[in-house]
């Protein structure tokens, strides 16, 4: 009985090791060409790191997004967008919806709401 159990356990270990190596072998091949910065990933998870836009891209994006909000000032630093100035509450959500598409790291809303 004990022997059989050991055999089964041993077999399971061999099988899982085999699966583990197979998954490890095939994983980098797929990502090698696509991903610039290859990060160590657990084979089972599909979670990729969050993509944050560069400060240059954010600055351009923020400029376009705030063009129609004359009271709003937006600063970009290290992926964070900081909003200062004034806005009407009715317009806040629309502005935030646009800013959220720019892939910022974070948005600090310090706006005074009129």
């Amino acid at each position: 009985m004990l022997k059989t159990n050991l055999k089964i356990t041993g077999f399971a270990i061999i099988m899982s090791t085999g699966m583990y190596f197979t998954s490890c072998k095939s994983k980098p091949k797929e990502t090698e060409t696509k991903v610039e910065n290859t990060t160590v990933e657990t084979p089972q998870t599909t979670t990729a790191p969050v993509e944050i836009a560069s400060d240059d891209a954010l600055t351009t994006g923020v400029k376009d997004a705030t063009k129609d909000y004359p009271g709003v000032k937006a600063d970009v630093d290290n992926g964070e967008v900081t909003l200062t100035g004034e806005i009407e509450r009715s317009k806040l959500q629309t502005l935030m919806m646009t800013l959220n598409t720019l892939k910022p790291k974070k948005i600090n809303n310090l706006l005074t709401i009129k």
């Binding site: 089972q44 998870t45 979670t47 790191p49 969050v50 351009t60 994006g61 400029k63 376009d64 997004a65 063009k67 509450r89 806040l92 959500q93 629309t94 935030m96 919806m97 646009t98 959220n100 598409t101 720019l102 892939k103 910022p104 790291k105 974070k106 948005i107 600090n108 809303n109 709401i113």
Partner: protein
């Protein structure tokens, strides 16, 4: 494998559940450096608006700075017609995708434009009812 649920996923659980039940495609919920990132594709603008209402309810006036929600609307697709939903003014149609680009035309408030191709989440190449082609800011386009 056990899925770890961070504190922010708890705070915004109602939002995440609403996104799931509304059938948001490619839904990704990630927590990184004390910010929660929710990405996905909603079928319609109404679903997106509803998710934003829930966000505003959980975090009034978006003050906490702990969530970035980027929900695209899949109905915004080449060939679709969109209404110009500016506050009241006409929408600038520009030579290129950027507010620094020259204005080549205007699409009237509440008129219809045809979406031609997507440059980014912010800019679309469109054709106005008058047949003018150029780039318009996506925030002011609502798919019919």
């Amino acid at each position: 494998m056990a899925v770890q649920m961070g504190a922010l996923q708890g705070k915004y659980q109602e939002l995440i559940e609403a996104a799931k039940s509304a059938g948001v495609n490619n839904l990704q919920v990630r927590e990184q450096d004390n910010v929660l990132y929710i990405d996905g594709e909603a079928a319609t603008g109404q679903i997106k608006d509803n998710l934003w209402s829930i966000y505003n309810k959980i975090d009034p006036d978006f003050r906490a700075g702990d969530l970035i929600m980027n929900i695209n609307v899949s109905a915004m697709a080449p060939g679709a017609k969109a209404t110009v939903t500016t506050q009241s003014s006409n929408l600038n149609i520009r030579k290129g995708p950027g507010t620094d680009q020259p204005i080549v035309g205007k699409a009237e408030h509440m008129s219809t434009v045809t979406l031609i191709s997507k440059t980014s989440d912010q800019w679309w190449l469109v054709r106005s009812e008058q047949g003018e082609e150029g780039y318009a800011y996506a925030q002011y386009l609502s798919v019919q």
